[in-house]
Structures are given as C-alpha cells and as structure tokens.
Amino acid sequence: MERVGRDEEFTEYVAGRWPRLVRSAVLLGCAPAEAEDLVQTALTKCLVNWAKVRRADDRDAYVHRVLINTFTSNRRRRWTDERPTDRLPDSAHADDTDGVDLADAVSRSLARLSADQRAAVVLRYYSHLSEQQMAEALGVAAGTVKSRLARALKVLADDPALCELRGIS
C-alpha cells in the first residue's frame, strides 16, 4: 500500500473516531488523560499494522480489539499499584445538578461490574458494536458476549444506586 494513502486513511479514521474512542476508554475506567494515552497507543499499534486493519474489513471491531487488549495489558502491568478506577471524570462543562448526580450514579454502577462485563457494556451500549463485532473485539464467542451482557445487566438492575437514579430519570 502507498505510504501516503495509508497515512491519509489513518488520519481520516482517527479524526472521525478519536473523541468516541477516548470516551470509551473513560467508560472502561480510565482517567481522561490516561484514556487519551491509551487510545494513542492503541491507534499507533493499528497504524503499524494498517494492512491488517484494512484486511479486517470491519475496522471498528479490529480497532476496539486492539484498544481492549491494550487496556487490559496496561491494567495487568499496573495491577500492583492501582486498581481500576471508579473515579469520575472531571466535568468538562457545566451540568445541571441532576445530570451530575445521574452521571455519578452511572459511573458508580459501572464500577460494580467485572472488567469483562464492563467492557461488554461499553462496547454494546456506548460504542454500539453488534454482538458479532463484540465477539471479534473481545476475542470470545458470540454466546459469551450474550451471557456477559446478560450478567452485567443483572448486576446493574440489582444496583441500589440505580433505584435512586430511576427516581431522577
């Protein structure tokens, strides 16, 4: 592949996906600055193997797979000195109080999920990947995706914090 073509394609891809990927990383449990580093690392890995990204055809599933793998291996490496955060991202703009409470409640509920369940929830309900794409991104069978989601939804449904949330929303 022509180098220029590849770089242009990559630039276009990143321009379109960057904010959403960074936000996905925050939902996975990264602090905002860490999320940007993570996405930068993952996208650089993708660029090195851009031919594979092209060949994958479903680029988003491939890129999310790299993102999740990078996230998991970072966590593993730093497991001893840091736990997955339930820390809230700093508010980037003024929000109404209900909005803040709501986001806090959602953030706390996500923290109750296992890492696998949390990834499944983020990929399905924020990144809007299909179950098949998720199976690719998570490197598991489609059935596993379904059961992880089902278990995650059960945990969220049983979360007392979310009863409050119902009152708000």
Binding site: D57, A92, S107
Partner: protein, 400 residues
C-alpha cells in the same frame, strides 16, 4: 438502569469528557519508527538464515521460501483471448482473472478458504482462528490495497500491455502442518490486487498467470467499500457513482428496513466481480429512507414460556400483526432499537395481561405477565412530536 436507558446514560457520562485534539503526527512518527525497526530486524534475521544454510539467494523474509519467483516470462494472455473452457472471469475494473468454474465465491470460515474459492468484496471477516488440514487454492481480489499484509512489489512487468507488479511468492507452514504459499499481482491502473494462495509456489504462479486485461468489458464493483468506509450516509450515492464511472447503468431498488440507516447498499445484481459489457444495467438494492418515524426504529418482542422456552417475534412480524400463543404465568416483553426507542409503549386491548410486577425488569413498562386465559392485543407505539406512532400489534392468545 434498563437496556434501553443505558446508551443514553453512557452518552451523558461520556459527554463530560472533552478529548483534546488527536496527536496524529505523533502517532504517524512513532509508527514509522516501529516499522523501520521491524524491517531492520527482519533483514538481520535473513542474513543469519543465509549464513546457516549457505544458500546464495537473499531471503527477503524470515519465513520466505527460496521459491523461484514469479514466472514473468510465461506466455502473454491476450486480452481478446477466449476464456478457457471450464473457467470464468472475475474482475476489478478492467483487470480480470480466469478461475475454474468449480471454484466457489467467498467460501471461507474465519477468513480461511474451506474449498477452492475466489474471494471478492467480503464484508466483515470473523476474527477467529480456523485452520484447514490442507491449503485450498484461492485468489483474493481487492481494490485499493492488497489482501496480503506484507505485500511488496518485486517484479515489474506488463499484462496485455498494461504495467503490473508482482510480489515474490512466499511459503510458510501453518499450524496444521500444511504449506501455504502466497503471491500478489497488482495492476496499478485499476488499483486492483490479486492475491493467490496455494499449497505450492507453482500453484500460486499457475493462478496468477491467468490475470488478464479486458478491452471493453468491466467487473461489477464491490459495494462493501462504499458501505463500510468513508461517509456511510452516502454509501448508495458513492456506489452508484462508481458504477457510472465504469460506464455501467445503475438501477436502484429501495427496500424498507426499519431502524437501518438509509442509503446502505444491501446487494447488487450481477454480483461484484461479474464481467459485464459497458452500458449494462446493474441493479442496486439499498435501504429506503424512512417514511415517517415508524421506520426509524426497530422493534422486537420476546416471550418466555415456563423456564426455558424463548419465542422471538421479528420487526416484520410485529408490523404485519403477529399472534402468539402463551400460557397463564408466561411473560412477554417488547424492546426497540433506534430513534425514539426510549418512548416505546404498549397499549392493551384485553384483560389477560398485566404489567410485570418484577421491579427490576429491564423492559418495564412494556413487559407483561399472562394472568388469565383469553385474548389481549398489544399495540406497540413510539411517541414522535408528542403523538403516538403505531409500530404494530401482537395478539396474545392464552390458555391455562
């Protein structure tokens, strides 16, 4: 938090983060450095290999075999030369390849051919590991970039007077012990790549020797690129433009697919790769634009009989008016996906259903329990601009 609320809640949480501008230049620089480092390592590995086996041929890749390279000098395949008996042409633009009629099209599992096959215009390839005990013959046609990750032009030659490039054929042993050899021909004028795989390097040559240029005829272009890359909302226009650019006559047929983005190309006839005369009509099936709010959402109904029996009703069945037989004690619930899915509601005509009393039911309030024998019709609606829009009905017939 219910399944329908989740996307909105996550969006609201995510919106609190304001990402900085992506450091694209940093990424391009870092990736370039990594690639150069890899290249150096590969060359170093090759030198060691040459030293050990004492063969005089330079090995480009650590895995590469010392195959004889492309048989560039083989007889030219004239553009007007007839297609050999028992073979068919598959093309990208004016660049075509003749393959045996017995070969399938896109017969793969996890991206691995499971019989001799042409691969063209595949959508998503499952990212999974699957190895066949033997290597089947295949040729992968790509527009815009090679299917072979490490494609490198090694030989420059001409096919029917048109400049072409050919990679070195490399062979490696795959997990099952079978040998798989791969080589690629690139026709820059059409930006077409033909990547052949076979059990032997000779097999690869035999496949790639059948690349030829068409004088007048063209291959029907693939539509996956328009659907999956670039501006997806313009997929249909992009594809129709690509047909016109090749001198073909597009005829668009719209199909209604509730909840699906309009202008998505769903199929094309003749199929991608088929060789047609200029001016031929190509029928493009695409998703229709929404004809009102009801088309912007996809609805589903699921029910649970006893402990294990799930019964799904599809969007089309519900819109057509579905009937389902349940027993007292069973549960049935509706869900939706797409615009205004949040406003999904079910109106009951009948008294045999009661709204689920399970407080944590993720599908509340459109989740019901069958409380008595008889018939109740559920009318499913969404709310658009303050008014209910009917999506369809499900008639629940129940007995004890």
């Amino acid at each position: 938090m219910t399944e329908v609320e989740l996307p909105d809640l996550l969006d609201r949480l995510a919106d609190r983060v304001d990402p900085a501008v992506p450091p694209i230049d940093d990424m391009l620089r870092t990736a370039g450095r990594v690639r150069r480092r890899r290249a150096t390592l590969t060359v170093a590995g090759a030198v060691v290999a040459v030293g050990l086996v004492g063969v005089g041929v330079p090995l480009v890749s650590g895995l590469g075999s010392d195959d004889p390279g492309p048989s560039v000098a083989s007889g030219p395949t004239g553009a007007s030369e007839p297609v050999p008996d028992g073979m068919r042409l598959v093309a990208i633009g004016h660049a075509a390849i003749a393959v045996p009629d017995a070969w399938g099209t896109n017969v793969m599992r996890c991206g691995t051919p499971t019989q001799d096959t042409v691969v063209i215009d595949v959508g998503a390839v499952e990212l999974c590991g699957f190895l066949t005990p033997q290597t089947f013959d295949s040729v992968w046609l790509e527009h815009g970039g090679p299917a072979q990750a490490d494609y490198q032009a090694q030989t420059h030659y001409e096919i029917d007077g048109v400049p072409a490039e050919r990679s070195k054929t490399t062979c490696q042993t795959v997990g099952t012990g079978a040998q798989a050899c791969t080589g690629t021909v690139h026709v820059p004028a059409e930006d077409a790549y033909f990547t052949a795989t076979s059990a032997t390097a000779d097999g690869v040559d035999r496949i790639l020797d059948r690349v030829r240029m068409l004088d007048e005829q063209v291959g029907v272009p693939g539509f996956q690129e328009a659907d999956l890359q670039g501006d997806q909302s313009r997929a249909q226009e992009t594809y129709v433009e690509s047909l016109r650019a090749l001198g073909l006559e597009p005829e668009v047929v719209l199909e209604s697919h509730p909840g699906m983005q309009p202008g998505f190309v769903l199929g094309v006839d003749p199929a991608p790769g088929a060789v047609v005369e200029p001016g031929s009509t190509v029928t493009v099936t695409a998703s229709a634009p929404p004809n009102g709010p009801a088309d912007e959402v996809q609805v589903g109904v699921n029910s649970l009989h006893g402990e294990m029996g799930y019964h799904d009703l599809t969007d089309a069945q519900i819109r057509a008016g579905a009937t389902i037989h349940l027993k007292v004690g069973d549960t049935i619930w509706a869900y939706a996906d797409g615009k205004r899915a949040f406003t999904l509601a079910g109106g009951l005509d009948g008294s045999t259903l009661a709204v689920s009393t399970w407080a944590d039911d993720p599908n509340l309030p459109h989740s019901w329990k069958v409380v008595s024998a008889g018939t109740t019709t559920v009318t499913l609606t969404i709310t658009a601009d303050g008014k209910p829009v009917v999506l369809g009905t499900v008639t629940v017939v129940s007995d004890q």
